[in-house]
């Protein structure tokens, strides 16, 4: 078990009139190599939750275990190295004069030799598909997509075990969004990094995650595989979330045609195509 959350509760501005319970008895586990999608509407506690993973917030109650070690009061520095955090609009956090310096910034305390540093920066830049010929450029000369990649490289360079991505695709067009999320898949596959994706997009979570955590009013509302979670469309709608179009379609079909044994856990276009072709016996070109 890579990350284990036990009975986590957190209250903002405790003891003031603005007191607000943001997390209420939250428990779950994340395995090494998982691609976890955390969804929920604004104010459901998902950002508060992930900020506990690298010690930005400390639990009021409950425990967090990383690699079976309780991290509530442990060495914050080591923790922050293990859990990389990419905030929303990460390109706003670029500040160095060149891309190289910005990516290398986190390594300053590592006491690496010039060669080692260079190797790590290049590896990180490659991991997110950043064009190496632009490393000596000013961060202001980059396009939006390149900036976002450079910013993520600056997190990857620390070799985290877990990468938390908070709405990484906000404001990007469909192509840019796919690029960023495909890199996350690559990082998971090639570098074994566990990915935690905080998102509003059901389609993205459906396409990429193997485990979905639905948050509502500070509690875990649902947890499980995307298929299992999207099956309960009514419950998701009740808490202000939608499901991918395909999930709705297959639910409607399964109700209308019980005789066809329609799989209610289908939620991506690819699965839907395969299923319907099998059912309708289309020629496979």
């Amino acid at each position: 078990m890579l990350l284990r959350i036990e009975h986590l509760s957190y209250t903002y501005m405790k003891g003031t009139p603005f007191e607000k319970k943001a997390l209420d008895d939250v428990s779950f586990e994340i395995d090494k190599g998982d691609f976890v999608g955390i969804i929920g509407h604004t104010g459901c506690g998902k950002s508060t939750l992930v900020q506990h993973f690298n010690g930005l917030l400390k639990p009021d109650e409950g425990n967090i275990f990383l690699n079976e070690q309780c991290i509530n009061n442990s060495n914050i520095k080591a923790l922050r190295k293990s859990v990389g955090f990419v905030f929303q609009y990460p390109e706003h956090q670029l500040f160095e004069s060149t891309v190289y310096k910005d990516i290398a910034f986190g390594l300053k305390n590592e006491k690496l030799s010039k060669e080692e540093e260079q190797q790590r920066v290049i590896q990180a830049a490659n991991a997110v598909g950043f064009d190496l010929s632009l490393l000596e450029n000013s961060i202001y000369d980059l396009s939006g997509g390149q900036k976002r990649r450079a910013a993520i490289a600056g997190v990857i360079v620390m070799n985290p075990q877990i990468l938390v991505l908070d709405e990484p695709a906000a404001g990007l067009d469909p192509l840019g969004r796919d690029e960023i999320l495909d890199f996350a898949v690559k990082l998971r596959k090639e570098y074994g990094i566990t990915i935690i994706l905080v998102s509003h997009s059901m389609e993205d979570v459906a396409k990429y995650a193997n485990k979905v955590i639905v948050m509502n009013e500070g509690k875990v509302e649902m947890i499980g595989s995307p298929g299992k979670v999207f099956e309960d469309e009514d419950r998701l709608r009740k808490i202000g979330l939608g499901v991918p179009q395909i999930a709705t379609l297959f639910k409607k079909l399964s109700v209308a045609y019980p005789q066809y044994n329609i799989d209610r856990e289908i939620f991506t276009v690819e699965e839907a195509t395969r299923f319907l072709l099998r059912l309708l016996g289309g020629e496979n070109k």
């Binding site: 939006g144 404001g171 379609l249």
Partner: protein, 308 residues
């Protein structure tokens, strides 16, 4: 600055062209003063890149037009041109028969076209919701006694009645964007432009904003230009303008645009999931229509086949 007629009616029921783009081109490279000093500091590229290239189309009063295109395709530039924040390098834009390039009319054009930007936090300046909505009215010189009634009316319309005294930072994202819309409505514009105004909102906030905008369009015949990457927000538009690389690629109903999957893919965009599913089935020899864009249409299309 010319004075704005505050008596202008919000509700004009005509089907005339409210906006007309005639061979509009725009290059940011031209956007510098001619002063020698500045020219020495910038590198003028050999080929001046045009952000908008020879675009012509018109929008009718009361039309709901969605503008789609990948990042950097020129959508926002087009929006800024329409609101006279920048001016065409070549060609002309007419808004309510006013030439946007005419410096005498700049402020009238801006009063006619209300714009909501992407980031809710970058466009709120008032210390209360009331103050924020009042800001635009102060700028166009609306008398104080008329102001409060206009503010109340606008806040009621966007569903923020009773929020007037609240501090804007306590609002949710969707509420902030609706407050921004109220700030525009109070100025009685004829056109509302949403420049990716839903990009930073969650599904609930997006729905709140889209509901208000659709109501404005249907009930008040407000002309809407909606720029977005969310394809589910454009299925109900009267018309889609597809832009890529600064040029107009295609225009038509959502059904017409979405049925051209290859064109959409080339423009870096995607079609709704059910449209893609129908495409896949058709490519495998199954007879389904090419203009399915909603779940209900997909159910209908599949019913015809499954019943057999």
């Amino acid at each position: 600055m010319s004075h704005v007629h505050i008596t202008k009616s919000l509700f004009v029921f005509t089907m005339e062209d409210i906006i007309k783009y005639e061979n509009v081109s725009y290059s940011y490279a031209y956007d510098f003063d001619d002063e020698e000093e500045e020219l020495n500091n910038i590198q003028v590229p050999h080929v001046i890149p045009f952000a908008v290239k020879n675009v012509s189309f018109s929008v009718k009063q009361g039309e709901f037009v969605a503008i789609i295109g990948r990042n950097g395709s020129g959508k926002s530039t087009l929006a800024r041109l329409t609101d006279a924040l920048i001016f065409p390098t070549e060609g002309k834009i007419y808004v309510d028969s006013m030439d946007t390039s005419d410096p005498e009319l700049t402020w009238e054009v801006r009063a006619c076209v209300g714009m909501v930007f992407q980031n809710p936090d970058n466009q709120i300046i008032g210390t209360t919701v009331n103050d924020d909505v009042a800001f635009g009215l102060e700028n166009i010189g609306v008398p104080t006694d008329e102001m409060q009634s206009r503010i109340d009316e606008a806040l009621r319309y966007v569903g923020l009645e009773g929020y007037g005294d609240m501090e804007p930072h306590l609002l949710s994202g969707g509420q902030k964007q609706r407050a921004a819309i109220a700030g525009i409505l109070a100025m009685h514009p004829k056109v509302v432009i949403l420049d990716e105004a839903t990009a930073m909102l969650d599904p609930v906030g997006r729905k709140e904003v889209m509901d208000v905008v659709h109501r404005l369009n249907k009930e008040e015949n407000m002309t809407v230009l909606h720029i977005t990457h969310h394809m589910d927000e454009v299925v109900n538009a009267d018309r889609i303008i597809l832009i890529d690389n600064g040029s107009l690629v295609s225009t038509g109903t959502p059904k017409k645009i979405f049925s051209q999957g290859e064109m959409m893919r080339k423009a870096g965009l995607e079609v709704p999931q059910v449209t893609k599913l129908m495409d896949n089935l058709r490519n495998n020899g199954i007879d389904v229509p090419d203009d399915v864009i909603t779940v209900d249409e997909a159910v209908l299309a599949l019913e015809k086949i499954l019943v057999k």
